[in-house]
């Protein structure tokens, strides 16, 4: 067949140009170390690389979450250990104090030590982490977990209600602490001074010990505490809200909060107390705050005192966490030995509560370790898969580069040789 001169030149040029393209492509691969430089070279692999990248960054984020959680749990663990030691010491002192041979000044000496322990325990319960967050305050970690009530002198929990959890894998969350409420306050008690749920906070237990040692074996008043979170107050600006507080089974004080708005629990307390004063009930009934909750107490103490709440209209009882008709009577004074005996039992219960928290922390730390090694393995596997998908096989690429290089050289040499052939040279 005929071949035109221009076309034969074009053919050689086409061949060289395609060799050069391949060579440039290989050179790009070799310099970037990547098999794929644009999605078109392997669309499916391009999408897979995005997926693998996402899995890796996500899992690395989980690893960082695990490290954060571990740090926080370790801090909680040491706080719990400190609390444990304090209670052990308090127990020793209680046993020592129960000894009948001690005189009142000996007991006072012990009392001062117990007061110190109480302060120390409050310090532990208000441990802060590096960010200044109170570790036992849950989702309200900007306020101390426990604060002393100015009226009652008791420590009350004022943190949040929810323990924060962190994501440690796609499907798994781990709490990075425990609520001070559950660890220090919500502890089973055998004492008559326990609240209506049969619970007494470890601070109140230590306070009872201190009071006993100070020879104040007081009778207690009837107290009912709402279990709802009223830190941010109540809004009755468009509602009719009335209820009755009944003291000692006979003195009925009507309270009316209709049309009012309260910014915080203290505002509610102030308003109710002023209504009680206005109605002449302030000698019988008192409203108080208990951390973020509200409580009502009879002023009189002893078995004949009691406090009851009854709804007239509106939603106050539900909003503040009272049952309709909820009632609690006071108890008479205990003997010294009985009061300290209950303290001893309750301190054991507190130790039990700390132990529960510590074992739960330990279990969580374990889970973190397990998840961490799983995540680590996953990252390694995914990275190797990613490498297989996107990284260049240098040996293979270099040998192909050599081959392509030789091919281009051959094409260039044949071109110049062929061009030398011309009949015109012989004319």
């Amino acid at each position: 067949m005929r071949i035109s001169t221009a076309w034969s030149q074009q053919l050689s040029f086409n061949a060289m140009s395609s060799q050069q393209t391949k060579l440039a492509k290989l050179q790009q691969q070799l310099s970037s170390g990547l098999k794929i430089s644009a999605p078109a070279e392997d669309p499916e692999a391009a999408a897979r690389i995005l997926d693998l990248d996402k899995s890796i960054t996500k899992t690395e984020q989980y690893q960082s979450n695990i490290a954060t959680t571990r740090g926080r749990l370790n801090l909680e663990e040491s706080a719990l250990e400190a609390a444990n030691n304090i209670i052990f010491k308090a127990k020793d002192l209680t046993i020592q104090a129960k000894n009948d041979t001690l005189n009142s000044s000996d007991r006072l000496a012990i009392k001062y030590e117990v007061d110190q322990l109480l302060e120390e325990l409050a310090g532990v319960a208000n441990t802060q982490n590096a960010n200044g967050e109170y570790i036992f305050s849950g989702d309200l970690a900007t306020v101390p977990a426990f604060a002393r009530n100015a009226t009652t002198g008791e420590y009350a929990y004022q943190g949040g209600l929810q323990q924060r959890a962190l994501q440690i894998s796609t499907t798994r969350q781990v709490a990075d602490g425990d609520l001070g409420f559950n660890v220090f306050e919500h502890i089973n008690s055998s004492s008559p001074a326990a609240d209506e749920n049969g619970k007494r906070s470890v601070f109140n237990t230590l306070k009872a010990l201190s009071d006993g040692l100070g020879a104040s074996l007081n009778a207690t008043a009837g107290v009912i505490t709402g279990d709802r979170f009223l830190r941010y107050g109540l809004d009755y600006s468009a509602a009719t809200v009335q209820f009755d507080l009944i003291a000692n089974g006979g003195i009925t004080a009507p309270i009316d909060l209709s049309g009012q708005q309260f910014a915080g629990v203290e505002d509610v307390v102030t308003e109710i107390n002023s209504q009680l004063t206005a109605g002449g009930f302030s000698g019988a009934i008192q409203a108080r705050s208990n951390g973020n909750k509200i409580e009502f107490a009879s002023v009189a103490t002893g078995a004949t005192s009691s406090i009851q709440i009854n709804n007239t209209s509106g939603t106050f009882l539900a909003d503040a966490g009272f049952a309709a008709g909820q009632v609690k009577a006071g108890v008479g004074a205990q003997t010294f030995q009985a009061q300290l005996g209950d303290v001893l039992t309750d301190l054991d219960a507190a130790l039990g509560s700390f132990l529960d928290a510590r074992s739960s922390v330990g279990a969580r730390l374990n889970a973190l370790d397990n998840q961490e090694s799983q995540n680590e393995k996953y990252v390694i596997d995914t990275k190797s898969m990613l490498s297989e998908t996107q990284d260049l096989d240098y040996a293979d690429a270099l040998s192909r580069y050599q081959l392509q290089f030789t091919a281009l050289q051959a094409a260039q040499q044949t071109f110049t040789k062929t061009k030398e052939l011309s009949l015109f040279k012989y004319l």
Partner: protein, 599 residues
């Protein structure tokens, strides 16, 4: 005796013509579109003598070019096919490279945004982590914006190219028509017996140039001129007249160019008739790669904003205030709606993205296509999905003059959706606004979403990391109100991270593409679909290249100049010339002999 001289002379002349033609061929060895020429010779009419018919030498009957209509037609159609495939490949490669570019890559930005959410969940009261989240959200929206801007740049350039190509078509058509006039007169001069070869070559070259831009069919006419048609018989050149093409803006989108043919009554839209050539490649790229990529990116942006905003608005910020939208779309309306200029009513149509809190599958239902809303009459509307012309019937419920359109009970057969595509549509007929049957509106939910997305808040304290749901610390269950709904604490819960955790987990949610993909997965699908189209275009471009080379080879085999061949011809005709000259010399010596004999 004089016959001797004249016969030799005819050989001399013929050889001279042939030599001229060989030289013409050699000179044009590198001329694009040149067809080699050869001299056709025949014997002259013999003279009758008593001895019989005596040959009178040679005559040149014609100078012809090696030309095959079929081969040229094949070449032109290959040029069109390659022009189309190669333009499409060049443009898709640009989009593909943008997708692969890590500086514009969406995937890392999406990953970092969700990681920043995780950091906020780890430390919800920390202002620095919240600040990082805001910057990552900013980076994410900027990545969406940048990527769309790059698409827009390509669109602008593509539009400029389309305009330039239409100008080229017009000037080529004009030149072809001019040559037609010359050819007709050249052919007429010889009574149709001889053709102006070089003019025809020039015209063929113009056909090839035209074929690179658009698929043409060339029909030779009796007078030697050629008519050129585009598409389904739109005449571009008829003898000496060339039609004029132009570009004009689409009815609904000023950034979309349509191709028109100027006729006395105005402009005919011939966009759909353009096939083959780089013009078709540009148009195909726009419809198959560029617009879908931009729309699918917009769908990811819209879906992300819908899901994140819905959850963010359910949460509470550091000061205990309910969260506002984290992302917004700039402009007065979320979804641009364009009124058809043919509408006779003046009612306004509003389209907004659905609230995921109201319809949990809204983000999954989003479609990347544009939608055409048409008023059918009564309470009936139709919504046409532009990408595949799927019709969805809608029914209007009117309250106080504002009609809200919902998915109708009766739908066309084979419909593949069962709800509105993640958008709410209202028609405002209040205040005497009217709507006529047949009025049309175009809504473009996904098209500009990635360009318009931005971050709505700039105060890190406003990030709603908390849910503020009150729980019982002992049972760890939410406290319910009288209606059974969780009670919300109305104040700041600075270290409540529950909403941030849920937001961070949105990164793992299969909420896109009908609940089959994460945001990252949906983006990955765009990458792989653009990659797939680009790859296919590379393959088809290289296949068309091979076919084009074959066509060129057949044409060059027939019409191309081979210098060796011409060298051989040069020798051949030189020898013929020398021989003829020699025979003249012989004739002269014969004369001399004769004259000498007489003397």
């Amino acid at each position: 005796m004089s016959g001797l001289l004249s016969t030799s002379l005819s050989g001399l002349m013929a050889a001279q013509r042939s030599l001229e033609t060989v030289q013409h061929n050699i000179s044009n060895v590198n001329t694009e579109g040149y067809s080699r020429q050869r001299v056709e010779q025949s014997t002259r009419m013999p003279r009758y003598t008593g001895d019989g018919y005596v040959g009178q030498g040679v005559q040149v009957t014609n100078v012809t070019r090696s030309y095959d209509q079929f081969i040229n037609k094949q070449l032109n159609s290959s040029l069109s096919a390659f022009g189309d495939a190669d333009r499409y490949r060049q443009l898709s490669t640009r989009v593909d490279n943008i997708m692969a570019d890590p500086s514009t890559g969406m995937a890392p930005a999406i990953n970092r945004f969700f990681n920043a959410l995780n950091e906020v969940a780890d430390d919800p009261s920390s202002i620095p982590s919240r600040q990082v989240l805001l910057s990552e959200a900013e980076t994410l929206t900027q990545s969406f914006n940048t990527l769309t801007d790059r698409f827009e740049e390509i669109r602008t350039q593509n539009n400029n190219d389309i305009g330039a190509m239409v100008n080229d078509i017009n000037s080529l058509a004009k030149s072809i028509a001019d040559i037609n006039v010359q050819v007709t007169s050249g052919v007429g001069r010889t009574g149709g017996a001889m053709l102006p070869n070089d003019l025809l070559d020039e015209q063929d070259a113009l056909f090839s140039k035209l074929a690179e831009i658009v698929n043409i069919s060339v029909v030779p006419q009796k007078d030697g001129s050629s008519s050129v048609f585009i598409g389904n018989g739109q005449a571009l050149v008829l003898s000496g007249d060339a039609a004029e093409f132009t570009t004009f803006q689409s009815e609904y989108d000023p950034n979309r160019l349509e191709i028109g043919l100027k006729v006395p009554s105005g402009i005919n839209n011939v966009t759909s008739q353009i096939s083959g050539g780089s013009l078709a490649g540009s148009l195909r790229f726009r419809d198959e790669v560029l617009d879908p990529a931009q729309q699918q990116l917009g769908r990811v942006a819209a879906g992300l904003a819908m899901e994140v905003n819905a959850l963010h608005e359910k949460g509470f910020d550091l000061s205990g205030t309910a969260g506002s939208a984290l992302f917004n779309f700039s402009g007065t309306e979320e979804v641009p709606v364009i009124k058809s200029p043919l509408n006779t009513g003046n009612a306004a149509v509003r389209v907004n993205f659905q609230d995921v809190n109201v319809n949990p599958s809204a983000a999954g239902n989003l479609d990347f296509s544009d939608f055409k809303l048409k008023y059918v009459g009564g309470t009936d509307y139709t919504l046409t999905r532009v990408r595949d012309n799927q019709v969805i019937n809608l029914t209007a419920t009117t309250v106080a003059g504002v009609s809200t359109l919902s998915f109708a009970a009766t739908q066309p057969a084979n419909i593949d959706v069962s709800a509105l595509p993640g958008i709410d549509i209202t028609v405002d007929l209040s205040g005497g606004q009217t709507l006529s049957v047949g009025d049309e509106f175009l809504a473009r939910p996904a098209y500009s979403a990635a360009q318009k997305i931005g971050v709505n808040i700039n105060d890190p304290r406003k990030i709603a990391a908390a849910t503020n749901v009150e729980v019982d610390p002992v049972t760890k269950l939410p406290v319910l109100d009288g209606l059974g709904n969780p009670v919300i604490i109305k104040g700041p819960m600075p270290t409540d991270n529950r909403n941030a955790l849920q937001l961070a987990n949105l990164g793992n949610k299969l909420g896109m593409l009908g609940g089959s993909a994460t945001f990252n997965g949906a983006y990955g699908q765009i990458v792989s679909s653009v990659g797939g189209l680009t790859r296919a275009s590379e393959l088809s471009s290289s296949a068309q290249q091979t076919l084009l080379n074959q066509a060129k080879e057949s044409r060059e085999g027939l019409a191309g100049v081979n210098l060796d061949e011409e060298a051989a011809n040069l020798i051949k005709f030189q020898q013929a010339y020398q021989a003829s000259a020699q025979s003249i010399s012989v004739a002269r010596s014969l004369f001399d002999t004769l004259i000498g004999a007489v003397r």
